[in-house]
């Protein structure tokens, strides 16, 4: 169980169906099942083409639509003269869709209220210790306990020191994202038409921090439309190049 897949903006099969019905300007009470089923299946095909895994729930509704479609082919007007009509095979779906639409509307209402709610600020509960005089915690310990605690403290300290002896703590001056972005920009400004493999941009390949920093810097530059990147397959090489924006700026200089 990994991640959540979001199909465009559709929150689920009902969301998609409601969209299709509204888009086709159909009455929800009179859904043209064959038309909607066709559109729905087309959409699912599209998903498959794009290699987006379609959630099982979408399949379930597709199956239901096809079932209704086949039932619609059967004569529904019962023979007796009262004109009593047997139940429309669509009514269950219509009811579900109506219910879903209602909650979708409620969700919109909540969204509006959320907007308003975020404009109201509250204060956290104040720390009253200063006034109530409970600020200092008095330890109720006898001498023995106190000595034991102190010994434990010394012991811990000794241990930490031992570890420190064996492991040298190195602290490198960490490069900032701004600096790295400047480096990368510089790289491409020198030769705007060159493309580079992502790894070429990393300065210390065995330093995870450096790799991550370079990666996020590239993403940031892409966001700002200075770079483009391409990866032809999963975990494949990432090719990076300068966009026209970057080239333009390089030429200006």
């Amino acid at each position: 169980m990994g991640y959540k897949v979001k199909l465009n903006q559709f929150e689920g099969p009902f969301d998609l169906l409601v969209y299709l019905i509204e888009n086709a300007e159909m009455s929800i009470y009179d859904i043209k099942i064959s038309e909607i089923t066709r559109q729905y299946l087309e959409y699912m095909d599209e998903m498959k083409k794009l290699e987006v895994p379609v959630a099982a729930e979408f399949m379930v509704l597709a199956a239901a639509l096809i079932e209704i479609k086949s039932k619609m082919l059967l004569p529904r007007v019962s023979p007796d003269e009262d004109g009593v009509v047997s139940e429309d095979p669509r009514s269950e779906l219509v009811e579900k869709l109506l219910e879903y639409k209602q909650f979708k509307a409620m969700a919109e209402m909540l969204q509006q209220r959320e907007e308003a709610g975020l404009r109201i600020l509250e204060k956290p509960q104040e720390d009253l210790a200063e006034y109530t005089g409970e600020a200092d915690e008095y330890l109720t310990l006898d001498l023995k306990q106190f000595v034991a605690a102190f010994e434990q403290f010394l012991h811990k300290k000794k241990k930490v020191e031992e570890i420190r002896k064996h492991h040298v703590r190195t602290e490198k001056q960490r490069v900032t994202a701004e600096a790295r972005m400047a480096d990368i920009s510089q790289f491409f400004r020198m030769e705007p038409d060159k493309t580079a493999d992502f790894r070429e941009l990393i300065q210390h390949r065995d330093d995870k921090y450096d790799v991550a920093l370079t990666f996020s810097s590239v993403l940031e530059l892409m966001k700002e439309h200075y770079l483009w990147a391409e990866q032809s397959y999963l975990y494949g090489e990432i090719t990076i190049g300068a966009t026209d924006l970057m080239k333009g700026e390089a030429n200006d200089k």
């Binding site: 959540k4 903006q9 929150e11 689920g12 099969p13 009902f14 009455s27 929800i28 009470y29 009179d30 959630a55 729930e57 379930v60 509704l61 529904r76 007007v77 004109g83 009509v85 139940e87 429309d88 669509r90 009514s91 219509v94 009811e95 579900k96 109506l98 219910e99 879903y100 639409k101 209602q102 909650f103 979708k104 509307a105 409620m106 969700a107 919109e108 209402m109 909540l110 969204q111 209220r113 959320e114 907007e115 308003a116 709610g117 975020l118 404009r119 109201i120 600020l121 509250e122 204060k123 956290p124 509960q125 104040e126 009253l128």
Partner: protein, 196 residues
């Protein structure tokens, strides 16, 4: 017996210090008065702040009251400092919340039936945000967990209590008319039998 004016003033001070919603019953106990009277006083205070258009307002959440800023002043507050921007809830989270709010106590299965899609992750996320909580177990097979909304939910969306939620019927003109199935069929007959 302490005068009403004194009590009201004291409530103001208490709310100021307390910050978070102050429970009416707790406040009433301090003065040994009926909680309904205390509630009345809080309501009066709330109205006074409102009428005078003060920059501080009193918000009610489930029989608790707290001082908050007036909504329209957010611009100025933001100019003074940059309050933490809250991430807005996702569309799916809002949908699930709407269903929980109106159908509570409700099981995961019931929520999923309305949305037609699995909701485990969304519910988990809402629980983490404390907008939704487990409120018990259904007696149905498997005794599934029942979910309900919390006071955080009320606060977040600015509802005083659950009765404050707008009527579901008023929101959507598409509510099923009386005798839904009958009228559905009636409409369908006319269309299913073309003139030709």
């Amino acid at each position: 017996m302490t005068s009403k004016k004194t009590i009201k003033a004291a409530f103001e001070s208490m709310m100021f210090v307390w910050g978070q919603p102050l429970d009416v019953k707790e406040a009433a106990e301090i003065f040994n008065i009926n909680w309904k009277d205390a509630y009345e006083y809080f309501k009066e205070l709330q109205a006074e702040y409102e009428q005078e258009g003060r920059g501080i307002r009193i918000r009610e959440i489930n029989k608790s009251f707290q001082f908050v800023t007036a909504e329209e002043n957010i611009e100025y507050i933001e100019r003074l400092c940059t309050p933490v921007k809250h991430k807005r809830l996702s569309q799916s989270a809002l949908e699930v919340l709407a269903i929980v709010a109106y159908k509570q106590p409700v099981t995961k299965g019931e929520i999923e039936a309305v949305r037609g899609i699995k909701c485990d992750r969304v519910i988990e996320g809402l629980q983490k945000k404390e907008l939704v909580a487990e409120v018990g177990r259904s007696t149905a097979i498997g005794r599934p967990i029942l979910y309900g909304t919390t006071d955080v939910f009320l606060k977040y969306f600015g509802f005083e209590n659950l009765k404050d939620l707008p009527d579901i019927g008023n929101l959507d003109s598409l509510t099923v008319p009386e005798g839904p199935e009958d009228s559905l069929d009636l409409q369908q007959i006319t269309i299913e039998l073309p003139e030709e």
